[in-house]
Each structure stands twice: as structure tokens, then as C-alpha cells.
Symmetry: C4
């Protein structure tokens, strides 16, 4: 595998599976406070969205995960389709284990994602994430940053707060909007106010509330907190595993230590 | 986006917009003391030069900037056209947010810049920068380093100081001249004597004075200092932002910390 | 050499040399405790397996080894053919000096390995390695992780322990299975329980016992310990050499220190 | 410039300039004790060898050097032709400012060098370097490591010492032999015994004595020491320059510090 590759799953190959009505891309890749990931995975499970494609990349870490069932699985990103329950826009949801680390890799991976979204006629992108402040708040606001000026005005009315968040948006949450805009797409990043040092379910709730308004869809948030705990547990396990591997010293990383 | 790409803006697409008389490339990318950037941006604003093209690169940091208006914008470099007010050479001015970091990236980005300059018939390049000495001086000299011996003699007469600056010129200010020379172009680097530890408007003034002589153009320097303060403010804001992000620890950088 | 290249040796070019019966790939590249490497090299020597191909890669360290005979040799990986003594599957054995270090490189190198295995009709892969625990045990268990659920059930019966090892498998031992699965191949990683901080011959024995059962082949383990000592000696020599080179300071690495 | 490029100089373009009799490649790129570089540059100046080609690479540092004359020059490697004064083999001499740093880059650069040598019918390579021991000796031995066993026997008789140097040869001195061998070329690395912590003219003399025997050419060594002092002076200047640049702190490296 020389470059990032998107493989259609069975559901994605079915006739009409990728014929979406005014498709909106919702992106929740791992990032600050895992806010975007929590929010998007909650939607997928809540609405039983169907997995249509997987993305693999040589820019993801060269390791496989061992599952509880005794099988291995590669690190990947996943696309799901969620048809709007009423007459709104259909959704393509993007989640995953990791993001690419280097700039060159992010440009390539985001480019492939946009190619795919483009191929199904997509024009609108909402990326979800956290805006780390180092502080804890009771009612996290949701900050916005949009691709176009007229969108700013429109989104303000729907609950997004503009003019507070400053600086830069690192990773796919920013790059998909930046590169998308160069292709004529429109969209915004929805950043929930979060501490940044822990998995923040409350913040993900705030983000989902605003997103629900934008998409004109009702999202039941009852199970979000439980799912956040699951995510945190998974994360802690991963961290423990990383420590175990580090403890092995020079022989780790394929044992190259002994020859370099 | 797999490689560095130059996109023509509306102004650049207009008929005759890129028909320049003996075009000279003036380069002011970020570097020591922000000297080159200050000087070139001052010219652009002073003469209301017109933006004709933008350069994007997968070798630039994978992040977008949030603007005060609530919109996002990608990191980029920009080309402006400035027609000589009298009968001198027209100018293509190059400024930007960043430079590429690695050698391979610098070679690619500088190559694309030269392709573009070549396509409009350009032959002469002046790169502007600072020469850091760690000392503060009242009247900063402007050191030179040229692509050809005969240019050295000519530039000495126009106020550039040769034989003092030693060592190497890192980044686009050097590479555009080195790679340009391999393509038959000529030019010089104008390095203002600067401390190196702060944004140096006085040094940028010295550089612009010499550049004015070289180009036979009068440059009003009144507003330079104010603009330098703006640049410094922007810079400080960015630094603060970087600190905010660093404070977020392992979850920063797209939250990859939890899995590697 | 721009990319990873597999070169057939004389034996591999002979007629029918690569016509294997239901070929199984056995992988023992350097890793935790050198378990996989010890085990696979033992098989090669015990059964006098024939070298059929060598793999070179620009992603391996840019150095050559000096042999005792006064010659140099490049770092490489090697493929051997071992025909099953009875009616079982023939084996392609893969060993080597090093693994690639970065993700991109691992994806490329593993891709080339699978291309080669695919070209001889291969479908089944067993990768051998160690699972580092930081503890010493008398009777190392052999943990398994398989590509498919039905394989898990089957392998449990043959002595592999599932459900204990958690986390991820880094490097070729994991990637060959992950990427192989995407191509329709099947297989498992056999991980011997090991401390992780030293070369573990006893663990390699455990792994070979299970592998013998899987392949229905009797493996004499008498000489394994002696061979492990040899491997350890080679490793210590390499480490000493690395220290010698480090002691040379800035002039090492091709003397680039003086110019950067 | 996307990849390493060799450009013929005027002398190299002249008719017959590259028609060499049994050409031997002599390589003296920067490395331990600058031994190989000193030795090869001495030959070039002593015999007034003619520059026939230059090699540029995007894998070399992205900077230009300022010369005393006020001009800039790119970092590069250089090929010279030296015709054997009697009936021996003609020589292609390779020297340079730097070597590539990463493995991938070394494989590419060495590949291009071998392409060029191949294009003029070359078959034999001698790479010159130092073997760092951390000790100072009165009469530095010259250790050898050859591509083929029969060469070892032959070179022993001509003064090279085998069986002492162990470990690996890092960089072009090793890779040119390793990659050359895969193309059917033959050769050896001549490593002078050296401390490793300073520029070692005496060691370069030892290496040149053995090389003179191998090539059946008399090399006058009178001026070698003076030239070594020049090299050392250049090196010290470079180091001082590096310190000057480091002193500039975060604004160095093209001033990227302020935005990342």
C-alpha cells in the first residue's frame, strides 16, 4: 500500500447506498478531549448508521490492534451513512482510530477523504472538535470557525459562538475545511469549550446540541456519558499498553535497537 | 494536494496581468528578525500591489488559522504584482506565513516558485533578510551576497556591503538564488544587520533604502514602524497560542498521544 | 534503488524452485527478545532450508556490515524454501538483519513481501515474535492473535493461548497479517511470553513447539540454545560497535556535524 | 529539483572528456577525521585533476554558502577526471561538502553516482575513510573491507590490513560498495586508523600511500599537511558560524519558530 486507500464495504457497494440527498460530511477524528470522536460515534450508534467504507493509510502507525475476540485489526478511519429521518440532508460520518502525524501525510489523507466526499456529490462539511482552554466550565460553549463570511452570520443564529476562539486548528478538523474550500466546498468547525486534559463527554453533548440544530435532527443524548466512559477505558488501556512496550526498551520497535 | 501548488487569483487571471516588463522577483519570507517579511509587506501596502497568485504546500504545517472575522484560512505564500511607476523593471513580490521546514520541501517549494517566475520571463531575483549578529547597532548596514562576480562589483556601488557576512544563508532566501542560478537567473541576497532576537523595523528600513536604489523607486518609510508593531503583535499572539496548545499535553496534535 | 527490491538468488531461479505446495509464510524478523528471529533461523539451519531470494530496501540503515572474512555485506532480509518432509504445506521462511523504522517504510516493505508470497500462490502466514511482560517465567506460554474468528477456534486447540495478550503488535509481525488480510490471506501471530530485556531461547523453543504442531513437522530443538548464544554474541558485538561509533561524536554519520 | 541531479561542467562536455581507460572511482566524501576528503582533495590538487561534473541533491541541507568573493554557492558533490600518467587505469574522483543524512537519501544519491560511473564504463570502486578508534597512533594502519573474497587476498599483498576493523561502514563509503556490488562492480573501502575526534592529515597520508600502490601512481605528499590545516580552518569557521546561528534562537531556521 503506497498511498492512502479507501475501500468500500459490502454496504457501500450495494445499489444506491451512496446516493445521498445533499450529503453533509460530519467529521469526528481523535483530537482535543476526544470531543469530536465521542460526538460522532454517539450519532453512529444512536442512529445505527451503516458503515460504507474504510480508509487505510501508510501514514498511520505500523501496528495492528489485538481485539478481545483474539483477532487482529488494522488502524483505520471509517465512513458511515446516515439518512436524514425527515427531509433534511443525508449525512456521511467519518470517525477513526488515529490521524496522520506529519503535514505531508495530513494533506494526502484529507485529500483522499475529500475525493471520496466529492465523488458522492458532497458540498458541506462540519468538523467536530474541542477547543482546549485549560479550564473547567459548567456549560461549555461551542465556538465556530467557518469557510465563508456569510456562513458565519448564519451559524451565529444557530448557536455557534464566534470571535472567542483564536489561533489555529491543527489536523483534519482544520485541513478538511481549508482544502475543501479550495475545491469549492463550504463548512465550519464546531469546537466545544473543554479543559483539554481529559475525555469530555459534557462538551461532546454541547457540540451535539448545536449540530442537531444545524442538521435539523433530534439527537438523544442519554447514553453519551456511558459511551464516553467506554472510550476513556479504551484510551487508558492503550496508554497502559504503550507503557508496557516502552518498558521493553531497546528491543521494542522491531528490535532495531541492537543494530543502529 | 500531493505537491506544492500555485493558484492564480482573479487579478492574476486578467488579461495582461502577468505581462511584466523585465520582471524582478522580490522575496520577503519569514526569517531572522522578520526583516525580509516586514520590508516586502511594507512595499505591498505602500504601493497597493495587487495579489496575483497564492502558493499552497503539503510541506507547510497542517493547520488553518482562525481569523478575527470568524473564518478560517490556510497557511500560504502570496505573489503580488507591482508595476514600476517610471520606466524601471516591474516587480513580482513574494511574501508568506511560513517557509517549508525540511530540505526536500525547500527544494520543491523553491522550484515551484522559480517555475512560476520563469513562466513570466523573470531573470533577476532579490531576496531580503536579516543577518543576525547578536548585537544592536544604530545604523544597520546591508550585507550582500550575489550569484555572479560581476554583480558583486555593481551592487557595491549601490550601497551593499560585501566581505563582512560569512557562513551560510538558510532557507528560501539562499535557495532561490542557488537554484535560480542553475537555471540561468541572476540576483542577490540583501541582508540587514540585526540582533536576531526581535522584530527589527529599523533594519527593514535600511534594507528598503538599498532596495529602492537598486530598483530606482522611491519608497516612503513613514508607516513602516507602525506596521512592524502590528507584525510583532501578530507574532506574540501566535506564540501565546502555541503555548496554549502545548499546555494541552498529549491530546494535542490531533490527539494521537493516546495510541502511540 | 528507489524502492524495496526482491532479488532471486541462484537457487530461486532454478526450475520449479518456487513451485511450493500450499505455501505457508513463516516470519521471524528481529523483535522483542529476538524470539521470532531465533526460532526461524533455527528452522532454516536445522532443515538446511535453501535461500531463494533477498530483499533490499532504501528504508534499511545506510550502512554495510564488515564480515570476518574481510568482505562487506548490505543489510537485508532473506527468503528460504523448506519443503515439508511429509505431505504438509511447503514453507517460505523470512528472516533478516533489520526491519524498516517508519510507518511508510513498513507499509512498503511488507507490501513487497506479500507481493512475492502472492506470486507463488501463498495464502497462509504465521509470524513469530515475543510478547514482552517484564517478567521471567519457567514455562513461557504462546499467545495468539489471528486474522479471522474461525482461525482463533482452530488455533486454540493446537496450543495457542488467546485472550491474554492485549494491545498492539508493532512492525512486520502485525503488518504482514493486517495487510495480508486485506488481500484475502489468513494467518496468525505466535507470541512467546518473554521478559523483553534479553535474548530468550527458551521462549523461542515454546514458539517452535506450537509451530511444529501447526505445521505437522517435528523440530529438533537440541541446538537452539547454542544458536541463541551465537545470536546474543553477534548482538553484543553490534552494540559495542554502536558505542564505538557514538564515541566519535560529531564527525560520525558521514561527518555532517561540521557543516550543519 | 525533485531528485539528485548530476550536471556536466564544460570540461565534462568536451569530446572524449569522459572516455576513460578502465575507470576507477575514488571516493572521498566527508567522514570520520575527514580522512577520505583530505586524501582525495589532495590528489585532485596535486595532479590538477579536471572537474567534469557536479551533483546537487534536494537531500543536502537547504542553504547556500557565502564565499569570500561575495558570491553564493550551493552545497554539492564534485567529480574530477585524472588520467593515469603511465599505463594504469584512469580515475574518476568524487569529493563534496556533505553527504545525505537519511537512509532513503543515501540510497538515492549513491544510486545516481553509480549510474554516472556506470555510464562511463566503470567497474572498480575505492572508497577512502577513517576508522575511528578513540586512540592516537604513530603509524596509522590502513584497514580494508572488500566486495569480494578474491579481492581480499589481492589487497592484503598491497598493504591493506584485514581482520581488525569490525562493525559497519556508515554512509557513502559503505553504500557505494554495497550497491555497486549488486550491479556487478568490485571494490574496497580503505580505512585509515584514526582517533576520530580531529582532522587527521597523518592518517590521510597512510591511506594515500596504500592507494598509490593500488593505482600504481606516485603521490607527492609534501603539501598534504598544509592542505589539512586549511580544511581544519574551514571546518572551524563553519562551526563558529553554526554557533552564531544557534545564538539567534527561535527565529533561526527561516523564522518558523513564531508560528509552530
Amino acid at each position: 500500500m503506497k498511498e492512502t486507500t479507501i475501500i468500500l464495504r459490502k454496504a457501500g457497494k450495494e445499489k444506491g447506498a451512496l446516493k445521498l440527498r445533499n450529503p453533509v460530511l460530519i467529521v469526528g477524528l481523535p483530537g482535543i478531549g476526544l470531543v469530536g470522536k465521542l460526538a460522532t460515534e454517539h450519532m453512529i450508534r444512536e442512529f445505527k448508521a451503516e458503515k460504507v467504507a474504510e480508509l487505510y493509510s501508510p501514514h498511520f502507525p505500523h501496528q495492528v490492534l489485538m481485539t478481545r475476540k483474539g483477532t487482529i485489526r488494522m488502524l483505520k478511519n471509517r465512513f458511515y451513512v446516515l439518512r436524514h429521518p425527515k427531509k433534511g440532508s443525508d449525512m456521511l460520518l467519518l470517525v477513526g482510530d488515529v490521524q496522520a502525524v506529519t503535514s505531508e501525510a495530513q494533506y494526502e489523507v484529507c485529500g483522499k477523504m475529500l475525493d471520496f466526499f466529492d465523488s458522492i456529490g458532497g458540498k458541506i462539511i462540519y468538523t467536530l472538535g474541542g477547543y482546549g482552554t485549560g479550564k473547567m466550565v459548567d456549560k461549555p460553549r461551542v465556538f465556530g470557525s467557518a469557510t465563508h463570511k456569510d456562513l458565519v452570520e448564519q451559524l451565529k443564529k444557530q448557536g455557534l459562538v464566534f470571535g472567542v476562539a483564536t489561533g489555529s486548528i491543527v489536523g483534519a478538523a482544520g485541513m478538511l475545511l481549508g482544502l475543501g474550500r479550495l475545491r469549492g466546498m463550504r463548512g465550519a468547525c464546531l469546537m466545544g469549550e473543554t479543559h483539554g486534559g481529559y475525555v469530555d463527554a459534557k462538551c461532546a453533548q454541547s457540540v451535539l446540541k448545536v449540530l442537531g440544530t444545524l442538521l435539523n435532527i433530534e439527537i438523544n443524548l442519554t447514553k453519551l456519558e456511558d459511551r464516553a466512559k467506554e472510550s476513556e477505558k479504551f484510551m487508558r488501556k492503550m496508554e497502559k499498553e504503550v507503557e508496557r512496550q516502552r518498558g521493553l526498551g531497546g528491543m521494542q520497535d522491531g528490535g532495531l535497537g541492537y543494530i543502529r
